[in-house]
């Protein structure tokens, strides 16, 4: 009967190792295997004699084993319960429950400032659209460095791009949520994440266009127009949910400033990052494309000529 049995064989517990807890794992391993008939039978016979010989020591060892066994079971149960509670991605499932039509509608709405700011505007607490927009922004930032001859350290740029975009989305959302808490605005964290995420749609469009057409004046037009529209929408929604002039001013001023400055930063700083690295390597032989980006632009013939030359060069 020895083989194939699920009963704990008391004879198999020996007292030879120091830590009983570590042996629990081994013992469970052995209990799970259902073969080992003759081997266990022989060992059982041998150890039965040893157990009798050991006397009290053997008995204490067995008690220790039992306690350790119970601790193992309890610990395992608690760990698996905690795991299924916190690592359960079903917590996030309601925030991803969208249809493509809804996503498209919300993307378009994010560019249209609402007129009614006297009663609270509805914000959809959805995370799919914002998450995809952040990833798209990362992809656009990477695409902006696409000039094949002058890419250097693409690995570092990639990490920076991902860090910047996610840092902005999560960090500024948390900061504005904190300010909203101080200013008594009616908004939840998920709604704030969603609002700011959809506000990045304007950034995506602006950067996509201006990374392909390198006119600085065009960038400023897009910055004010597209960036301004999406900022206005976010500001209007927040204003509709806040009471009191000072609070509205603080909240919306901060959000507008951060949002517009981020777009400015993305356009200029990334040019500078590429240039800074190029400078240390190429010295004075830089093609005009990079020189254009360095200047704080006043629309001038020189800038236009240089950009036109750069476009001709890259084609």
């Amino acid at each position: 009967q020895g083989g194939g049995s699920a009963v704990i064989d008391m004879e198999n517990m020996d007292d030879t190792s120091g830590s009983s807890f570590e042996d629990m794992g081994e013992m469970h391993q052995r209990m799970k295997e259902e073969e080992e008939e003759e081997v266990e039978g022989d060992a059982a016979a041998a150890e039965e004699e040893d157990g009798e010989f050991l006397g009290m020591k053997g008995l204490q060892g067995q008690l220790g084993r039992q306690v350790a066994d119970q601790m193992w079971q309890v610990g395992k149960r608690q760990a698996s319960r905690a795991f299924s509670l916190y690592a359960n991605i079903d917590i996030l499932r309601p925030y991803f429950d969208v249809e493509p039509i809804q996503v498209r509608a919300r993307l378009l709405e994010s560019m249209i400032p609402v007129k009614m700011i006297n009663f609270p505007q509805k914000i959809a607490g959805e995370l799919y659209g914002p998450l995809m927009l952040v990833f798209t922004l990362v992809a656009i930032l990477l695409h902006g460095m696409k000039t094949s001859d002058t890419i250097i350290r693409e690995g570092t740029l990639m990490g920076t791009a991902i860090g910047t975009c996610f840092g902005y989305w999560l960090g500024v959302s948390s900061f504005i949520y904190f300010l909203a808490y101080l200013c008594n605005a009616q908004i939840t964290m998920v709604q704030m994440l969603s609002l700011l995420g959809y506000g990045l749609f304007g950034h995506c469009i602006t950067l996509f266009v201006t990374y392909n057409i390198h006119f600085h004046s065009l960038f400023y037009i897009f910055w004010l127009g597209v960036g301004g529209l999406s900022t206005l929408r976010m500001v209007a929604v927040l204003v509709s949910r806040t009471v009191g002039h000072t609070q509205r001013l603080i909240l919306c001023g901060t959000l507008a400033a951060l949002h517009m400055l981020f777009l400015l930063y993305l356009h200029f700083a990334y040019h500078k990052v590429v240039e800074g690295i190029l400078d240390t390597l190429e010295g004075p032989n830089m093609p005009p494309f990079q020189r254009v980006a360095r200047d704080i632009p006043v629309v001038s013939n020189a800038v236009l000529n240089a950009t036109a030359k750069a476009i001709a060069l890259t084609l």
């Binding site: 009967q1 194939g4 049995s5 699920a6 009963v7 295997e33 259902e34 073969e35 991605i89 996030l92 499932r93 925030y95 991803f96 429950d97 969208v98 249809e99 493509p100 996503v103 799919y128 998450l131 995809m132 990833f135 798209t136 990362v138 992809a139 990477l142 695409h143 460095m145 696409k146 094949s148 001859d149 890419i151 250097i152 350290r153 693409e154 690995g155 570092t156 990639m158 990490g159 690295i277 390597l281």
Partner: protein, 217 residues
């Protein structure tokens, strides 16, 4: 229930039996028998499975072989070979290429995990590792594109080579995306396919960008 009023057992029927749970010797014999086969058989069986999946990726038909027995050998091999080929792409002599290998690796696996989580959250019926398996195997066309790009760059690095590389990379990118959507989109509710396809598109776009902007030392 009149029949249950008397559930006592009469004294003369002995109650006996075995407390031990009889365990049939069904699987252990078959499982353990693979230990006895020569190593060559084991390796060849795994290699054949990987090879069959490669063929499924290159000619994406609606078969479930890729999904049913998933394995991560193919994705690992593809990811490592792609990361190795992308090394040495920096013109900076100080850069020993180490971070680049790690970056490619992390981006591929992190991106695949994010897409899998996204498709599960959108209500997909595919399991975590099955999705990782499909996404990893569909990197094969891009690895082929990388190989072609390297060969083209050996010949020359002017505008014509750039155009050739651009065309090849775009074609392979389209192939990868189509192949993976052929496998993954079926597991979604029909009106949400676009929501799942878009991140896959972004993921392969980033990998294609890495391949296209690769310039050898």
């Amino acid at each position: 229930f009149p029949g249950l009023t008397d559930v006592s057992i009469s004294e003369d029927i002995p109650v006996e039996g075995e407390i031990t749970v009889p365990v049939g010797s069904h699987s252990p014999d078959e499982d353990f028998s693979t230990l006895d086969e020569p190593v060559r058989d084991t390796i060849m069986r795994d290699l054949k499975a990987v090879g069959k999946k490669f063929v499924h990726v290159m000619y994406p038909k609606k078969s479930s072989a890729l999904l049913r027995d998933w394995d991560l050998w193919g994705p690992l091999v593809l990811c490592v070979s792609l990361a190795l080929m992308l090394q040495g792409g920096s013109a900076d002599s100080r850069d020993d290429g180490g971070p680049q290998f790690a970056e490619v690796f992390v981006i591929i696996w992190f991106g695949a995990v994010v897409i899998t989580l996204n498709s599960k959250l959108l209500g997909g019926t595919i399991s975590f590792f099955q999705s990782l398996c499909v996404l990893g195997y569909c990197v094969l066309p891009l690895t082929v594109a990388m190989l072609v790009c390297r060969l083209v760059l050996l010949v020359g690095s002017g505008t014509i080579s750039f155009i050739i590389r651009l065309v090849v990379v775009i074609a392979m990118f389209g192939w990868s995306t189509l192949a993976s959507t052929a496998f993954l989109a079926d597991s979604q509710p029909p009106n949400r396919k676009a929501l799942v396809v878009y991140p896959i598109f972004l993921f392969y776009f980033v990998i294609s960008w890495m391949i296209l902007t690769f310039t050898p030392q």
